[in-house]
Amino acid sequence: MSTATIGGHDVHVDQEGFMTVYDEWTEDLASTLADNIDIRLTDEHWAAIRFIRDDFKAMGETPTLRRVTTVGGIPTKRLFELFPKKPAKKMAYIAGLPKPAGCV
């Protein structure tokens, strides 16, 4: 874990660039992070990001994709459209959370 800048802000990140301190994340940063991976945030993206932020806070870990579908109510298909190829990791990156650790 080291300090680096994202959008002009000093934050803690891991080696890959995922933010590691929950409270350092802001919605402004999310837009910069999304830009970094060529995603333009829409309301639907925000709904997913807010869900995984809230769920992380409540459960202490990044939710799996299945949880975003079953608990967050966003269909799996839609998640693959919103965050192509690697939805779980891309969501976590934009939301300033660690990669999900669960297998399923």
Partner: protein
């Protein structure tokens, strides 16, 4: 003085591109169905093109009649660390199946039909083996709706060209 650098950006789009996975599911017991499901789901989450080919006993996973009723038996399975003589008692298979299903549900992993739904929603492809369908006298309508087709072994060899193949 410390110099703060711009944070690295994870590489998301290059890793999965071009990689392809084919999983042959040949077993129909509950404990042998899950490894294929879990791997397929993980590969899809990494953006990897994934095909599942169901053959022989693996057909039970996509047969509408059986897919919700896969069983686990501790009989002849030393990994359960139970006395072998007891494992053959009547009711033991349904008891062990019940326990395993509870454990799977307990860690928030879906049952087989929901898992297949999740896999296909994630872009995974399901294929049924022609020889098994012929042997078991099964038609496309007997199979889970999202199975894309009943295909021959050579069709599978063609479609898995360039894929890493896992046999379960």
């Amino acid at each position: 003085m410390t110099l703060t650098l711009e944070a690295p950006v994870p590489v998301f789009d290059d890793l999965g591109s071009g990689r392809k996975l084919a999983i042959i599911c040949s077993k129909g017991s509950l404990d042998m169905a899950y490894p294929g499901m879990v791997l397929a789901n993980a590969a899809l989450g990494e953006g990897i093109e994934t095909h599942l080919f169901f053959t022989f006993w693996g057909f039970d996973i996509i047969n509408k009649e059986t897919m919700s009723h896969l069983q686990f038996t501790p009989l002849g399975n030393p990994a359960t660390h139970m006395p072998p003589m007891l494992m053959g008692l009547p009711g033991m298979t349904s008891f062990a199946t019940h326990m395993m299903k509870k454990q799977i549900e307990g860690i928030d992993v879906p049952d087989i039909p929901e898992f297949l739904e999740m896999i296909t929603d994630s872009g995974g492809h399901l294929w049924a083996c022609k020889m098994s369908a012929d042997m078991m006298h099964l038609e496309p309508e007997d199979l889970y709706d999202r199975v894309e087709g009943i295909i021959s072994a050579s069709d599978f060899i063609e479609l898995s060209e360039g894929a890493q193949t896992i046999f379960i």
